[in-house]
Symmetry: C2
Subunit: 151 residues, 2 copies
């Protein structure tokens, strides 16, 4: 199977497959004489595993851990669970962050007439000198609207 077919079968783009190989998330594959990468069904299975983990928002680093636990028959399920729960924590923190933003904005928007007149509480709030209102500043480590996407 060529990389394009493996991409279709796994849902991971050819670009990303090469990238995952380059960073060592997946091993280097066999090549044909002319240099084409060759994939087996087993490789596709691994890629699908990776894609699902990405769909759940795991970072590539976490996925590397998950893959190696997956391939370790002696693994302890608590190690997997720990990764999953830590990730849940991160997700929930981010959810709260976004909820605070959305809620602040909605409150401001409700009080804005939204007509042709210039008066606007939204701008007033952004321009205000007072101490911070409800909206919590996003965590320094995890941005809010990154564009990094899974798939």
């Amino acid at each position: 199977m060529n990389i394009g077919q493996a991409a279709k079968a796994s849902g991971v783009s050819a670009k990303m497959i090469r990238y995952y190989e380059s960073i060592g998330l997946i091993p280097k594959t066999l090549r044909t004489e002319s240099g084409y990468r060759v994939y087996s069904d087993h490789d596709v299975h691994t890629l699908r595993f990776i894609r699902r983990a990405r769909d759940l928002g795991f970072s590539v680093e976490q996925i590397a851990d998950l893959v190696s636990l997956w391939q370790d028959r002696e693994r302890a399920s608590k190690d997997v669970k720990a990764i999953a729960l830590e990730h849940v924590g991160v997700l929930e923190r981010k959810i709260r962050e976004l909820q605070e933003m959305a809620s602040t904005l909605k409150h401001l928007a409700v009080n804005c007439h939204g007509d042709a007149r210039p008066h606007c509480p939204i701008l007033e709030e952004l321009a205000s000198d007072g101490a911070e209102p409800a909206a919590a500043k996003p965590d320094a480590k995890f941005g809010v609207l990154g564009k990094t996407a899974a798939r």
Copy 2:
């Protein structure tokens, strides 16, 4: 006022102030003879406006729009409201996305013993061949856990 003082007063790092200037979000400031940037209280006010908008998760592009509306005394409040509400929509979509991920993961984790034994439903699910489960794949445009941070 030097850039460092403006940074402290506004909550925007000196690095970011220079960056905002470089991309045209804020105009080029006056300089001292030796080339130091000089900021007025008014500039700091603008920077604070920008920081608040960032704290609410607006993109730099949206902030540029907000700033120009802010400075336009003839603006229509509906233009501001439209930006705010569109952003609320984005935030809420993202929230739902993350909630689906967290919920899927929590369900999987609940069913994982989390002990020393290898059996683990989390890995089983990731490795499963079946059709996608509850977890919705993240939107291609807006990633889930970007690291780009606002402050």
